[in-house]
């Protein structure tokens, strides 16, 4: 019946089926996170620019030089980690996805390890946080990025373990997508920091 009185209210039309939003909540959350992280690094880069451009000699004469060749190779390793990650998005099986994500985690861990070894050598040669503004700005900027890479590598490693059990089937790709977006950001950020700190 369709009378519409107080005793018998009119039946409402059924709600239309829910549409998927144009931007998923996952992507929106990652956009906000990356915007905030970008502002953090913008502040650090601004700080670096002030000291770099106001110095008469950079790097200072009494400070050790940065390991350019090793860091260049390390950069290739980090950027190469994007290839298996991209393949993981297109993988059809959980095992293939886990393999690609695991390879990404391995390359990321290699980058962090090599950076750590190079830092130890720099400290032994006298470049420390307190040795000069050169050391302070270097460790602040690159250290902040290294912290992000370490966090990202751990995240990717956990994702690789979860991907083995087919947890990221096509209908639930949000977690893999979040991890991937963060890793893309970290690698893209290194593409800005490496020329700025090591080459300029």
């Amino acid at each position: 019946m369709n009378t519409g009185s107080i005793a018998m209210p009119r039946r409402l039309a059924p709600l239309p089926p829910e549409r998927a939003p144009a931007i998923s909540n996952t992507r929106l959350a990652m956009i906000v996170l990356i915007a905030g992280e970008s502002m953090l690094f913008a502040g650090l880069i601004g700080m670096y620019l002030v000291f770099r451009l106001s110095a008469k000699a950079w790097p200072p004469v009494d400070q050790p030089r940065l390991p350019l060749i090793v860091t260049t190779l390390n950069t290739v390793v980090l950027l190469a980690s994007l290839v298996p990650l991209t393949r993981a998005f297109r993988a059809h099986t959980g095992a293939a996805r886990a393999r690609q994500v695991g390879l990404t985690a391995l390359l990321g861990a290699t980058f962090v390890l090599v950076q750590g070894v190079e830092w130890l050598r720099l400290v032994q040669h006298g470049l420390t946080l307190g040795s000069s503004t050169y050391g302070a700005t270097f460790y602040m900027l690159i250290g902040c990025h290294a912290l992000h890479v370490l966090t990202g590598a751990l995240w990717v490693a956990v994702t690789a373990v979860l991907a083995r059990g087919d947890a990221f089937a096509e209908r639930h790709p949000a977690a893999l997508e979040m991890c991937g977006i963060y890793w893309y950001f970290v690698c893209g950020l290194w593409g800005v920091l490496f020329p700025l700190v090591y080459l300029y």
Binding site: A22, I23, M39, V50, R52, S54
Partner: protein, 96 residues
């Protein structure tokens, strides 16, 4: 529209060298030959541009995502009153 363009042109066509190019603190903190002046200039310009760049990229991505969504709700476009064609009176017998 024309007045906005003229106003913008008048603002941009001011003297190239202004009498004051910084606040009192920055202007008095550095000597003319101090490299810190250039350093602060570039750093401030960089920090001014970054928020707009980030926001523009994010907003552009959101806009692009909504544009390419195939099942996005489409609004019914109703022309404004001055654009609607008057409805011609129906032909019929005149009232007595």
């Amino acid at each position: 529209m024309r007045s906005a363009i003229l106003a913008g042109g008048a603002l941009l066509s001011g003297p190239a060298t202004a009498l004051a190019q910084s606040c009192a603190m920055c202007g008095s903190s550095f000597s003319p030959d101090d490299p810190a002046t250039r350093a602060f200039t570039w750093s401030i310009i960089f920090l001014l541009l970054v928020p707009y760049t980030i926001f523009g990229l994010a907003a552009g991505f959101v806009f692009w995502s909504f544009r390419r969504a195939s099942d996005r709700p489409r609004a019914t476009i109703i022309p404004m009153a001055w654009r609607r064609r008057p409805i011609a009176p129906a032909d019929g017998p005149e009232e007595a």
